[in-house]
Structures are given as structure tokens and as C-alpha cells.
Amino acid sequence: MKIAQELRVGNVFMLENEPHVVLRTEFVKSGRNSSMVKLKYKKLLKEGRGEFTYRADEKFDTVTLDKKEVTYSYYADPMYVFMDAEYNQYEVEAENMDNAIKYLEPDMPCEVVFYNDKAISVELPTTLIRVVEYTEPAVKGDTSSGKVLKNAKINDLLEVQVPLFVNTGDKIEIDTRTDEYKSRA
């Protein structure tokens, strides 16, 4: 059991007997007003995201999820298949893969997440290195006009904003939680 104020990004809490994952929290407290927490969430087992605002002392049942280190093997529509060190295979439904799909590469290490012994999703390392497939060359004067970022295509599913000095073929670090450029690798 946790109160709303204690919930952190990634925690799983129960709403009407359904697990929800915390995506973001915003806390306010002032004067005599209640402390309040804005919770952005996604449903763990179904499609659906949203936002609720709770009093900070509202109590929630929380769930500790099991995780296992695996590598990505292959896609067998509609399941993504992963394998652990003992060659056990785990299937995750495509609709539960969320953001991870954009980063998947063969033999890529990640973690499969289990709820009630069922593989329900995949967690990636928070930072991954990827090669820029294409980005426009920087044009002289872009910086002075205030344009300091540009689009860079990483693959068919992923585009990130990068500084002007990044070129096609460069390796960059990306924050997988936000799809934001971190640095040049």
C-alpha cells in the first residue's frame, strides 16, 4: 500500500482491480489547500492512458512486478519473442510493447516484465546508442536564427530532435523514456 504522494514513475498501482503504470507525477502543496498529486498513467494490461488528480494521502494498493533479463529474438505477428539465458522463450503482445518497438534490434538485451506469471511488457535500458540513419546537414545561419535542433531519422519508427552538429551516420545516445537526444556517442 502506498499513498499517492509516494508513487513514482514506473510504479504499478491498482485502480478498480486493474494495474496502472505511473508515467509522470506532479505534486502541489500550498497554504491550507490539500497536497495534491497529478498522476499520468497507462493501463498495464490494456490500451489506455490518462490523468487523474488525487489528494496526496489517497491510499493505493501497489504491485511489485517480476522482471527477467532477456534478449530480443524475433517477431511472430502479433507477438514479440524474447529469450533468456536458459533459452526459455517469452512472448509479449505487440500492443503491450509500447515505446520499446521503436528500439528493438536482434539480440538486443532488455527485461521482460511479468504480472501474475504472464509476460506483459518489455523494459529497455534508459539509454541506448543508435546510429542516425538520416538528418539534414546544418545550414549556415541556423543557430543565429534560433533554430538549434533538427530532426534525425533513426529508423522507420523513430525520429529524434538532435543538435545541428549531428550528422548522418553519427552514433548518438537516446533517452528511451522520452525519445530525447542525450549526447553524441
Binding site: F13, E16, R32, N33, S34, F52, Y54, R55
Partner: protein, 411 residues
Amino acid sequence: MPAASPSATATSGALPLVPRCDLFCTVVDNFGDIGVCWRLARQLVREHGWSVRLWVDDLASFRHLRPDLDPALARQRCDGVDVRRWDADFGPISEANAPGDVVIEGFACHLPKAYLHAMHARKKAGNAPVWINLEYLSAENWVDDFHLQKSLHPQFGLVKTIFMPGFTERTGGLIRERELFSRREAFLASAGLRNAWWQRAVGLPAAPQGALVVSLFAYENAALPALLTQWAQSTTPIVCLVPQGRIAPAVGEWFGRHALTAGESAARGALTVHGLPFVAQNDFDALLWACDLNFVRGEDSFVRAQWAAKPFVWHIYPQAENAHHVKLDAFLERYLAHSSPADTPLGGDAREALRTFWHLWNGYAGTPPNWTALALALPELNRHAQRWASTQASLPDLARQLASFVENQVK
């Protein structure tokens, strides 16, 4: 747990002609919580035709605002409101205490468990109540973003909506009764009404001529002796009306007395003080209208002072670690920045005089507040207070917004 029987008139997806509302109020301390809830309850009955049950855990405090209330009664009717004593044991749910169509938690109090279960039963019957958490008033910017935000009860799936009173059109507004301004204008226009008030409240035949009249309602305040000294040394006579309350004993002590009780007067230099009885809520507006400057405290009197359209000084409810300073500064910023294209902006001197005075009255520093600077700014602050009240009055009031919201929820 017996299930609550849904309102006979309520059906899923429609609001009954006379919505039944349960308004819960915990009196934390003082009178702000019950003051606001009582005003809201009456207004929902009078102006919106609701049937309101007001559940109050401390009828003795409530009685200060409404002297004819009997704290011993578990149930009584006042101004059309069904006032209920909210005992620690709420008792089993029956026809007499089953949830209404609208449930309002005044200032985030916690509903009785049995009542919450009964709300769940209504939901399962397809007739969930509209559940509202009415919060304290604040001028902070975040309020706009939190007003009307929703949550889902973790176990019962009941939707609860936050209602934030405030000063912008994106908030729930302020409590303002329909006839408030006409009552104020009538009082200000009629010497007979004003004289009758002075006779009744202070025992004087009329307002003192040539004096600045001040009301003083505040929590205990370390800045008080220095202010009284400045008032005594003022070149303009000052008449100060002090209702019984937390600051009245300190006023008496400054005059070398044990206390300043109701009906007592005292004078030193230019200052004359009159002790008043604790002012019942119905009479409080007239006190504000009768004065040139009002010292108010908490939330309810703070709002009434704004509707009085007179200069005022707010003593905000003090809290640990100065948590209240943010709230006070947010209001000051909004209040002092206010001007419409047709307005003459408030001058820098007047703005600074008010800001500094409020800060020092609220203990921001140990320096005494500068009465001379504030007194000089009063004419300008008076015009500003009128503009502010007029602008705020162009926004819908809290009860109206609440009623509209509820109607929209069940359409």
C-alpha cells in the same frame, strides 16, 4: 452493509428537479471552513433550489456564526438548510442519511466509510452521485490547472472532481450571493440604515464624524501593539471596531486592561476602540461596509472584504514553515497587478504601501507596519478596491459554477 436506496427522483443521466446535496464540513479550527460551507449551502438552497443537508462535526463553533443554532440537536432546519450533526459514529445507512445526488467534501474532509459504501451502491445501481472536493481559495497560478481535475476512487471507481475557488475564469469563482451588491448599495445610500447599524452594533447614534473607521478582525498578531501606538499618534482620529475574537484580548491589554469585552470602549491619543460582540455571519457585511478600512482574516471574511469594495488588510491563516506566504503573495500579485484598459493603474507608492503593510502584518519581518504610508494610500486603494470588486463580480460566482457543473455532469 445495507445498500443506500437511490433518490426517489434521481435517475441515471438526469438531475432531479430538486437535487439532493450532502455537504460535509469538518471544522478544523476557527470559522473559515464552516463559514464558507454555510454560505454555500444557503445559496444553493435559495438561488438554485437545491435540497441541502449540511453535515457539521462542530455545531458549537457553527453557533458563533449562527447564534440561533442549537448544538445539542442532531438535526435542525436553518434558512431552508437541513443542518445535521456529524457524529464520529455516522451510523448505518438508512433513508435518513443515504447519499444525495450531489456530494461535496468541504475542504477535503474524509467521508464516513459507510456513506462511501452507499455511494458505491448508488453507482452500481446506475445512479452515481456527482462527487466534489471543494478546496480552499487560492490565487496561485496552479489552481487554474487543478480546477475540475478528476480522480477515480481506487476501489470503488467513483469519480471525484476537484473544485477550486479562485479569481480567474478558469476557476470555480468566489462565493457571492445574488442580492449582495444591492444590499451593500442600499446600506451605503441610506443614512438611516447606517445610523441604525451604528446604534445596534456600537451603541452610537451615528458614525463618528471626521474619523477614519477601521474594523479589526485578526488572529493573534505581534505587530498589533506597534500599530495601536501609531494609531494613537495619528493626526486623524481613528475609531477601531474590534469584534470579540482572538485579537480582542491583546487590544485590551494594550490599554492596560485584562480584555476588551463587547460593549467596552477605550481611548488613547487619536485612537478610540469599541469592543463588539462576535459578529454573526449575517451581520458581518454591514460591519465591513460601515468602515473605511477592514482588517480581515482566514478565507470567508477575506472574500467578504473584497465584496465590500473597501481597502483591506488580510491576516492569512498562519502555518508552519511559512507555507501561507506563497498564497498571500500570489493574491497580492494578482490584486495589485489588476487594471483594465479603462483603469488608472494603481500607483507604485500605493502598491508598495499595501504590499509592505500586508507583509509586516503577516510577520514577514519584525519591523512594525508603516501606518503613515498606508493611510496616505487609502484614497487610491479605495478606488482600486472598487475596481477589483467590479471586475471579480463580472465572473460567475461559486454556487452558480457548482450548479452548472453538476447539471452538465448528468446531462
